[in-house]
Amino acid sequence: MENYVEFKNISKAFVGVQALDNISFRADGGEVCALLGENGAGKSTLLKILTGAREASSGEYFINGEKVRFTSPIEALRYGVSVIYQERQLVGDLSVTENVFMEDLYRNKLGVVNFRKSHGEMKKLINLFQMPFSPHDKVNSLSVAHQQMVEIMKAYRRNSMIIAFDEPTASLSDPEIEVLFSLIEKLKQKGKVIFYVSHRMKEIFKIADKIIILKDGCFIEEVKTSDATEDELVLKMVGRNIGDVFNNLSRNDKIGEVVLEAKGLENDYIKDVNFTLRKGEVLGFAGLVGAGRSETIRAIFGADKLNAGEIYVNGKIQKIRSPRNAILAGIGVCPEDRKEQGLVLDRSIRENLTIPILHNLAKLGVISRRNERQIARQAVEKQRIKTPSIDKVAVELSGGNQQKVILGRWLLANLRVLILDEPTKGIDVGTKAEIYQMICDLAKSGLGVIFISSELPEVVNVSDRVIVMREGRITGELKRKELSEENVLKLAMRER
């Protein structure tokens, strides 16, 4: 029996945006079909249409030759289509078991749950995934990476015919990715249709059999992975050649005096963190997921309490008790979770852009609308945020464009230090290149930049210096000359 999915002339329009335009292609069982495209190319939208979470404006699709049209994800699930969505979909207060099984918990005829059996099955699944948590743990006590694995388990368990992964690795680190890939391999062997969306080219080459390239909602090409080269793919999806991203970076070479110094920072998550950041420098922070990098910058930014330690900006000690203090001291942060921590999703792009600089736009507390619109428009242009209007609400942007809004916000503010926590998470290659250049430009303009990333190639190549963390402590520091992926990994795994 052969599984396949076939899309025919699928189109989808939102207000002011043609998200998908006449897409046709076919994905067969037993192969991993990667969807590749820039942010906002329509990958997530296509998957949502597949599961009935969104309705196509026109077009149809077939599963094993049968024309289907789901009106809700439930129908799709019953039919055998599961999706691991880009946004994690978990119930934080419930146990891992309940999250994974959801409405499918083992039960008797009366609907009474057999928790023992459910937990038992869950335990098996956890072992299969080689995860350290227990079936009883509440999901919100797990780290982001483990939550993502729970999300994957959810879809895996269903044993669906068709499984789609929408950027599953965005918050995973290498060991978990290994596990994930071995599982995908197994699924492939079982003849399932697998869709895989990612912006990490390396992964695509590792896992995909065939690649569908989308651009601005249009189908560009279908290629066999074995026949493709990275440059070619990038050219097709971005529409221009981005060349050797890292070597073409125009870096800053004038590194100045110390702008930020952290001395003996300590709280519940981090221990004895010391480092300095210089003017014009890009300081990378590497480590495995859960190493405490985010916690370090949260502490610096005043979002978490410090139990001990001092923070100096331009040589002056700063009492930072809240993000507001930090911003006044000239520090800005792009948080790692753009939906939860970055954007006010229900408000417009304009309003999201101008939050930290409202006071500059206002006289006597009254916002000058003209100024605000002008500045917002400039930022949208400069960041190449794909949107018909600055008044569009942020929730309607694609993931990558949302990230650009947050970045754009800080470029408007007058900063000395900018901290970027996983700024390229879920960002397409073209934009990534733009962001790397932007980081360098920022450094050139005299900012100190802290760049946190779990993707080793980018930390290693963009940073002037890298600090490696593990379990809340700094395990080492690597100068530009010593920088290599192996060196970073060694420090990241080093036992204390």
Partner: protein, 327 residues
């Protein structure tokens, strides 16, 4: 690694931590404090009679609290429950006076109340109104109808068996109190142990996730609105039996007491949190306190103040538990 840390700790801190983790234990302590205080002030307070009396007084609010707890866990709310109780409590009295045998009359109104649940659900799930405002509006409608069907006058009844139903005692415990406990056990079981119950938590904790996982939040919330209406109608019937009359204005404001009990017991408006055990303890705290204030003859106006204060005190108490836990 974290698990091992936990188990390594001495049994004692383990127990403390376990106790601290449970919101219910903390609220139980508050309850014991309340009871001890009033017993100290007047030792009649702790008598069997008074304690069962507290349960009896809790029965209407308690039944409403069951519906509220389920709905709030699911991320909804029902501000109409007290009016529903009044409407159907009045109606059952009218039916009985019109000669309908009381068990049939009771059954009829409880079944009829399904319609209110459906309307609430329809407004929320089909027309996308916010539950707070939709049920507030329906509350107004039900309350008005309650007065209309009886022309504003309470409806005395004279059906002995029915009155017995509301006033008899078993082993000294009033029948409505027993029913209250039975209902709490049944719904506690449903909420905690059945697939339906767990679904309630899922749709409350994250409706999108639940929906994507194949649950139907609209269906589940519809069932909950219906349950809430039916239990409320039943509470109304019980109230009528207890009062020997249908009261169109009966129970006014009781929905807030019910919600308060739920919150005291650890249910959160954000949804997905809490359980009926906690709600029951919350209910007892409120009722023991209210009863105690009367027992020690606190003046009426100070009682109003005191009720606000105990609520705050109990919740702050709970805050410190959470604080310590997070350290």
């Amino acid at each position: 690694m974290k698990n091992s840390e936990k188990t390594n700790k001495s049994a004692n801190t383990g127990l403390t931590k376990y106790l601290m983790q449970s919101n219910e234990i903390m609220m139980l302590i508050v309850l014991l404090l309340v009871i001890s205080f009033f017993t100290f002030m007047n030792r009649n307070y702790l008598s069997y009679f008074n304690m069962t009396n507290i349960l009896l007084a809790a029965s209407t609010v308690g039944l409403l609290a069951i519906g509220e707890t389920c709905l709030i866990i699911a991320g909804h709310i029902d501000l109409a429950s007290a009016s529903v109780a009044a409407l159907f409590g009045t109606w059952v009295a009218i039916l009985i006076n019109a000669g309908v045998p009381w068990p049939i009359a009771s059954l009829v109104v409880v079944v009829a109340s399904v319609s209110v649940g459906l309307v609430n659900s329809c407004l929320v799930n089909i027309f996308g109104l916010q539950p707070f405002i939709a049920t507030l509006a329906i509350s107004s409608v039900c309350s008005g109808l309650a007065f209309i069907i009886c022309k504003g006058k309470s409806v005395p009844i004279n059906e002995e068996m029915f009155i017995k139903f509301g006033t008899m005692k078993i082993a000294g415990i009033p029948f409505p109190a027993i029913l209250l406990i039975v209902f709490f056990i049944i719904f506690g079981f449903i909420l905690g142990r059945t697939v339906f119950g767990r679904s309630v938590y899922m749709i409350g904790g994250n409706p999108t996730a639940a929906c994507l996982a194949g649950l139907n939040p609209k269906k589940i919330s519809t069932i909950l609105y219906i349950i809430s209406a039916m239990v409320a109608a039943f509470a109304g019937v019980l109230m009528t039996a207890k009062m020997h009359s249908g009261q169109p204005g009966g129970g006014a404001g009781a929905e807030f007491d019910a919600i308060t009990a739920a919150i005291l017991g650890g249910v959160a408006f954000s949804g997905g949190k809490g359980n009926l055990r906690g709600c029951f303890i919350g209910l007892l705290i409120m009722q023991c306190f209210n009863n105690g204030l009367t027992v020690i003859s606190v003046s009426a106006f100070w009682q109003i103040v005191a009720k606000g204060l105990i609520l705050i005190a109990a919740l702050i108490f709970d805050f410190f538990r959470r604080e310590r836990l997070e350290r």
